[in-house]
């Protein structure tokens, strides 16, 4: 179980850009400065640091030197978009164990489409050796294989998956920070430019630049209603073992214990923030976390409205599909939106009476699928 006295006491986001106007550390610093101001703590109080795993040769310690931090606990997350989310849980445990008092968790990216497209041929050695020489098309090429398999196995249709992109765009239209805010219709979605059949343009996330940060510390440091506690958290890597393009992920393994630890079932979640690099991945997270039976996501999407004020509020700020995927920031994007909602700071997109919700992560493309799944259940403290 996770202590209920320590949690997220502040958050900050650096504005997202289609083309970077600063370096990765530049973005990280912008988010960090906002996060500590939001938490009401002084930079000197930060003695724990979690960095997302995408900072190239830098470690959390060399990054700490760059950012002028002296630390008693330093951590670097793994598993890309799934791991940065879990870094926050590691931070809670570090504070609980007395290893640090206040931990700053940062995810950042400084990229645009062209730099991202250069990077996709070298995610891992397996990718550069055994996929890139085929012209594999990066994440869309892989996820198209997964989506077609899901469509074949369960009859899932693009008209159904498209509701994720379209409804999240409605959320984004109420979020000034989203990079993509123009109206998107289901027809726009269905007829967009082909990227990797069956994936078209609005199935694919926009690589961009930006950063997200949270501060973890004792919840009594902030006023009631402004802290967020982590009720439960789980991760699973390499599941199902040995499958190149599975249509299920690690969420199905830990789902029951995740909700049991939290003490609340799926029906008590006021929203879901998931890692939506593609609608098919959002769909699999909804299924595998038990919000509908496996294979029935098509009907679930048809029967639900996914907007912030709908029957199943999903990615209430627009998600990665409308806000953009800012590299390592993407793994914290959903959590920061969850914190915003639970503090009642969702503005024009506030989920009414948001008390608790689920945030799920996905990441680590290697030979085939994303290898890692994670999820946390968070509650207003």
């Amino acid at each position: 179980m996770i202590t209920r006295d320590i949690g997220i006491i502040g958050y900050g986001s650096a504005a997202y850009h289609k083309k970077p106007d600063t370096s990765l550390f530049g973005y990280a610093g912008r988010a960090a400065r906002k996060a500590i101001a939001n938490a009401g703590i002084n930079k000197k109080e930060i003695d724990g640091f979690c960095l997302d795993g995408s900072l190239g040769a830098d470690t959390s310690v060399s990054a700490a030197e760059y950012l002028g931090l002296t630390l008693s606990w330093a951590h670097k997350s793994t598993a890309a978009g799934a791991g940065t989310l879990m870094s926050v849980v590691n931070a809670v445990r570090a504070v609980e164990a007395g290893l640090a008092n206040y931990v700053l968790c940062i995810g950042a990216g400084a990229q645009d489409i062209s730099s991202f497209k250069k990077r996709i041929s070298g995610f891992t050695a397996a990718v550069s050796n055994y996929l890139a020489p085929h012209g594999y098309g990066g994440p869309p090429g892989m996820h198209a294989i997964i989506q077609r398999k899901h469509m074949n196995a369960f009859g899932t249709r693009r008209e159904q998956l498209g509701r994720i992109a379209v409804h999240q765009r409605m959320n984004a239209m109420r979020n000034d920070s989203a990079l993509l805010r123009s109206p998107l219709t289901l027809d726009d979605y269905l007829n967009a430019k082909m990227v990797s059949d069956p994936l078209r343009l609005y199935d694919c996330v926009l690589p961009c630049s930006g950063a997200e940060a949270v501060v973890v510390g004792p919840l009594d440091r902030v006023q009631k209603g402004k802290g967020v506690r982590v009720l439960s958290a789980r991760e699973r890597h390499n599941h199902p073992l040995g499958e190149v393009a599975p249509i299920r992920g690690g969420w199905e393994v830990f789902r029951d214990v995740l909700f049991a630890d939290a003490g609340y079932p799926q029906a008590d979640m006021d929203f879901m923030q998931c890692y939506d690099d593609f609608p098919i991945m959002a769909a699999m997270q909804i299924e595998d976390l038990g919000f509908c039976p496996k294979g029935e996501i098509g009907c679930f999407l048809q029967e639900n409205t996914l907007t912030y004020d709908g029957s199943f509020p999903l990615n209430t700020g627009g998600g990665l599909l409308s806000c953009g995927q800012a590299g390592g920031a993407a793994g914290l994007h959903g959590l920061v939106e969850a914190v915003r909602q639970l503090r009642g700071e969702g503005g024009a997109r506030q989920v009414p009476d948001a008390t608790r919700g689920i945030v799920s992560g996905f990441g680590m493309i290697s030979y085939g699928h994303g290898l890692s799944a994670s999820a946390v259940i968070v509650e207003r403290a």
Partner: protein, 141 residues
């Protein structure tokens, strides 16, 4: 005689994957099989991921299989893929039972679907491609 390699990116050749890449230069698909647990493994590794035995033996696969699922990759930024789009990228279940991702060549795009039979592209055409590449299997092939 090999055809020009057409500018495709090439894998790094190492001690571990050399038999695989040399095999393909001879038009063969070589896969690893663990000497201890007999499991087939792709992509090439120093050890068996099933039992961590380091005695990995190379066997010649039949070079046939079936498409499990596929994508048609239209969006490319580098030649020769831009000119050759869409590239058919498929998950292929080899006759030996293991799955791999590979390109399937076709001039009949609509014929590519889950369950179709594929086979290795033979030499000399094979030498154009840096990794084992497949084509639809002829009905009487």
């Amino acid at each position: 005689m090999s055809l020009p390699s057409a500018g495709y990116p090439h894998p790094d050749e190492t001690e571990v994957n050399r038999p695989f890449l040399e095999g393909w230069r001879r038009g063969k698909l070589l896969i690893q099989r663990c000497a201890d647990c007999s499991m087939f493994v792709f992509f090439p590794r120093e050890l068996c991921p099933h039992c961590w035995c380091s005695d990995m033996q190379w066997v010649e696969a039949k070079g046939t299989g079936e498409v499990v699922s596929h994508s048609l990759v239209y969006s490319h930024v580098t030649e020769p893929f831009v000119s050759e789009a869409p590239v058919v990228l498929a998950e292929i279940r080899l006759s030996e039972g293991l799955t791999m991702l590979a390109r399937v060549l076709t001039d009949q795009l609509p014929s590519i679907s889950s369950g179709i039979q594929v086979e290795l592209v033979p030499l000399p055409e094979a030498s154009r491609y840096p990794l084992p590449t497949f084509r639809s299997r002829l009905p009487n092939g």
